[in-house]
C-alpha cells in the first residue's frame, strides 16, 4: 500500500473503563472504523476511516466513545488551512476531483445572522398567538392582475395554486441521493403538516404515489422517470435548471447506486450511470424555457403550477425576471449554501451567491418591473431556523425550501460524506443494512415536530411584530434592520441599519 500523506481528521477516544466490548460501534459503522479483536476481547478503532458522523458515539450504551477533531493534524496556518493541505494530498494521490456532500462550509458571511427583526412596543400593540388566530396559510402560484366581480362572485379565473399550511416545504432530494425511508418520511410529514416535498430528479417510487397531493415532481436535464403518469400524479411540477451547491454543472448517479428499485424509479437499467447533463438540451433561452413550461402545462391540463428552480448566481435578478416572463408560476432560488448529495468541492465552495442577497435583488427587480404577482418566490440555501424563515419572508419570499434542516431532523450529523453512500444514519444510502436504521414513522414524526415547532416560533415572532397573518409580513423589509453590514450590503438587502 502506498503511504498516504493525509492524517486522520478525527481522533476516537475509547474509555476502556467504560467499554464493555459489546461491539455496537463495530456493527454501526459502515466505514469499518471499529474492529473487534477476538483474542484480546477488545475493540480497536482506526481513526483514519472516521468521518465524524457520531453514530457510534450516540449509540454506545456506556458512553465510552468520543470523537474529536484531530487537533494537530497538519502544520496549518491562516493561509494554508488544514483542509487545503488535506485536499492537495488527496488529489496528488488520486488525480481526481474532490467531492463533497451537504452545503458550502466556508466562512462566507451569513446575512441571516446580520439581520434583526422588529417588535411592537407601546404603539401598535403586539398580539398573543396563544389567544388570537395567526394565519400562516400561503398560496403559491401566479396571482391575477386584478380581480373582477359580478353579482358578488369572483369572475376572474385564478391560476392553479398550492396551499401551504406553513410557508416551509422540503426541497428536492431524489430517491437515490437519499433512501426510500427518508423519502417516505418527507412525504408523510408533508401530508401531516399540510405542505409539500419535492421528488428531486429521480422519479417517483410507486409506493409514494399515494402522497401525490403533497408532492412536487421535478423535471431535470436527465428526464429520469419523467412520464405522463408521474407528471399527473403530483400537485406541482418543477423544472430544475440549477442547484445552489453546484450551479452550472450537471451530475451523475454512479452505476453502483442504481439498484433494482432505483432503476425502476428512474427508468434506466440497473448499474448504469445516470447522467444529468449541465443544461437541458431543449433549453438555450428564455423562449425555450417557456416552451418546456408549456409542454408540462399541456401534459397536465393546465391544472398544476409549474416552478422553475435556479441557483443564485451573479445576474439572478434579470434571470428571475425572464423566468417569470416565460410563464413560471413559482420561481425557486437556491443559494450558495444550498445542500447536495454530491458536488465537486470547489464548485460548492466557490460558485454562486448567498440566497439573502439574491432574494432581495430578485424581489426588488420583479416589483420594479411590475411582475412580482405573476409568480411566487421560494428560496432555499440554508434555512436553519424559524428565524431564517421569517427573515426570508420579510425580505420578499413567499415560502422557503428546507433540506439540510429536514435531514438533520431525521438524524443527519452533517459529516458531509453523502456521496460515499455509507450514511450510518440510514439517510444518504441505499444499503439495506443501513437504510433500515431510519424508520419512516419516526422520521415523519420528527419532521412534523420540526415544522410544528417552527410554526409556533414564527407565530410568536409575528405576534411580537403586531402581525396576525404571514401575508402582512411578506416583503415588509421595514421589519428588518442590519447589524455589522456595509452600505452596499444594506442597499442590496433593501434594509436600514439597526438604530436607523
Amino acid at each position: 500500500m502506498v503511504l498516504s500523506y493525509t492524517m486522520p481528521a478525527f481522533v476516537i477516544e475509547r474509555d476502556l473503563s467504560r467499554c464493555i466490548s459489546c461491539q455496537v460501534c463495530v456493527r454501526q459503522c459502515a466505514n469499518d472504523v471499529h474492529v473487534y479483536d477476538i483474542e484480546d476481547d477488545c475493540v480497536h478503532s482506526q481513526d483514519a476511516q472516521c468521518v465524524g458522523c457520531h453514530r457510534c458515539v450516540t449509540l454506545c450504551p456506556t458512553h465510552a466513545l468520543s470523537v474529536q477533531r484531530n487537533p494537530l493534524a497538519f502544520r496549518a496556518h491562516a493561509n494554508w488551512s488544514d483542509q487545503a493541505l488535506r485536499n492537495i494530498y488527496r488529489q496528488a494521490e488520486s488525480g481526481g476531483m474532490l467531492l463533497t456532500g451537504m452545503g458550502c462550509d466556508q466562512p462566507y458571511r451569513i446575512y441571516w445572522d446580520h439581520m434583526l427583526l422588529n417588535a411592537s412596543q407601546v404603539t401598535n400593540p403586539s398580539i398573543d398567538p396563544m389567544r388570537e388566530p395567526m394565519e400562516l396559510t400561503t398560496y403559491l402560484g401566479a396571482k391575477p392582475e386584478r380581480v373582477a366581480f359580478s353579482d358578488g362572485r369572483v369572475e376572474t379565473e385564478v391560476a392553479p395554486q398550492l396551499r401551504l399550511d406553513v410557508p416551509i416545504m422540503f426541497s428536492a432530494m431524489s430517491y437515490g441521493s437519499i433512501s426510500f425511508n427518508a423519502c417516505e418520511s418527507l412525504a408523510r410529514a408533508s401530508r401531516e403538516a399540510g405542505t409539500f416535498y419535492n421528488t428531486g430528479e429521480g422519479g417517483l417510487h410507486p409506493a409514494l404515489y399515494q402522497y401525490g397531493a403533497n408532492t412536487i415532481a421535478q423535471v431535470a436535464s436527465g428526464r429520469f422517470g419523467v412520464h405522463l403518469e408521474y407528471l399527473n400524479a403530483v400537485a406541482a411540477l418543477e423544472i430544475k435548471i440549477g442547484q445552489g451547491a453546484k450551479p452550472g454543472i450537471g451530475g451523475h448517479l454512479p452505476g453502483e447506486k442504481v439498484t433494482p428499485d432505483i432503476s425502476a424509479t428512474r427508468m434506466i437499467p440497473v448499474g448504469t450511470d445516470a447522467l444529468s447533463p449541465a443544461p437541458h438540451h431543449d433549453i438555450y433561452s428564455i423562449e425555450d424555457l417557456r416552451q418546456l413550461i408549456y409542454a408540462l402545462k399541456e401534459a397536465t391540463g393546465y391544472a398544476k403550477p409549474v416552478s422553475v428552480k435556479v441557483a443564485a448566481v451573479h445576474n439572478i435578478a434579470p434571470i428571475a425576471s425572464g423566468i417569470v416572463r416565460a410563464g413560471a408560476d413559482i420561481v425557486a432560488i437556491d443559494g450558495l449554501r444550498g445542500g447536495t448529495g454530491a458536488a465537486p468541492t470547489q464548485v460548492r465552495n466557490n460558485v454562486g451567491i448567498p440566497i439573502e442577497l439574491a432574494l432581495a435583488a430578485v424581489d426588488q427587480r420583479l416589483r420594479d418591473e411590475g411582475i412580482r404577482h405573476r409568480a411566487s418566490l421560494v428560496v432555499a440555501g440554508s434555512i436553519r431556523s424559524s428565524a431564517d424563515v421569517i427573515k426570508a419572508i420579510a425580505l420578499g419570499a413567499d415560502a422557503v425550501y428546507v433540506a439540510t434542516s429536514a435531514l438533520v431532523a431525521m438524524g443527519c450529523h452533517l459529516c458531509q460524506n453523502c456521496y460515499t453512500g455509507k450514511c450510518n444514519w440510514g439517510i444518504a444510502t441505499q444499503d439495506p443494512y443501513l437504510t433500515k436504521r431510519l424508520n419512516s414513522d419516526l422520521g415523519a414524526q420528527r419532521l412534523t415536530n420540526l415544522l410544528r415547532a417552527w410554526s409556533l416560533e414564527i407565530k410568536e415572532m409575528m405576534g411580537g411584530m403586531g402581525l396576525n397573518a404571514i401575508e402582512s409580513l411578506r416583503g415588509h423589509r421595514d421589519h428588518l434592520r442590519g447589524v455589522g453590514l456595509n452600505q452596499v450590503e444594506l442597499d442590496t438587502l433593501g434594509i436600514r441599519a439597526a438604530g436607523q
Binding site: G95, R223, H227, Q291, G301
Partner: protein
Amino acid sequence: MVDLRWLTSLDLVRSESSEEEIEVDARRLPYRTLNERLAELVRQGASRLRVLAVSGQRYLGTNLMAPVRVAIDGVPGNDLGAFMDGPQIEVMGDAQDGCGNTMNSGLIAVHGSVGDIAGHSMRGGTILVRDNAGYRVGIHMKEYGERCPAIVIGGTAQHFLGEYMAGGVILVLGRSLETGDIHPSRYIGTGMHGGVIYLRGKFDERFLGKEVGVAPLDDDDWATVRQYVFAYARYFDEDPEPLLRGSYAKLYPRTRRPYGRLYAY
C-alpha cells in the same frame, strides 16, 4: 409487399383501420385550443383523427394518452409528441424542433424532415423520418426494460447525432448521400454510454466522439436493422431491399461508465 415478420413491435405496424377518420381544422387555432379539442375527441372515443392546415401549433399529441392515430396535414410546431404515451402520429410534411421530446411510447412518422433534438431523452416508441434531421438527434435517449426507443432517418442527420446516448437505437440510412459523400454529422455519439447507432454509407472516424467504437453488424444487429428498415419502407412506400444493401456500420459506446475515474475517492 413488406415482410411483416420483421415488424416485431406493434407500434411499427401501420394498421389499416376501417374506423372513421375525424377531421379537425387547425386554421387559426392556438395550440392550447387545438390540443384540448383533440383530447376531447379522444375522450369521446375517436380512434382516428386528421388535423388539417396545421401551422406551427406546438405539443400535438402530448395530452392524448391513448393509442389513437393522428394524421397531420401541414407543419406541426415544436415539441410534437412531447412526453407522448401511446398515439401514432403521421406528419404529411416536415416537423420542427423537439419532435418526440421525452417520449414514452407510440410512433411519429414524418413524411419530410425534422428539426433539432428529435427524440431528446425518449425512452420508448419510434420516430421515423423520411428525409433529413437537424442537430443533436436522439440526444440522451435511454432504454429501460421492455422499452427500447428507435429513431430512423432516411437521409442524414446534422452534428452531435446520438450525443449522451444512454440507450435505444438510431438508424441513419444516408439516402441523401451522393456517391462518394460521407455522413455530414460531426461529433457523432459524443458522451455516448449506451444504445447503438447504425450508419449506412460512408463516414469519417475522425468525426466520431471519443467514447464511440466501430464494429461490423452481427446477426442480432441485422435483425434490428431489418425491422426498422421494413417499418421505414412501409410507412414511406419504399422498397426495403435496396435500403438493406450498402455499407452498414455499428457505432457503440466503448464504456458504460464514462465518468468512472473523475473523483478523488
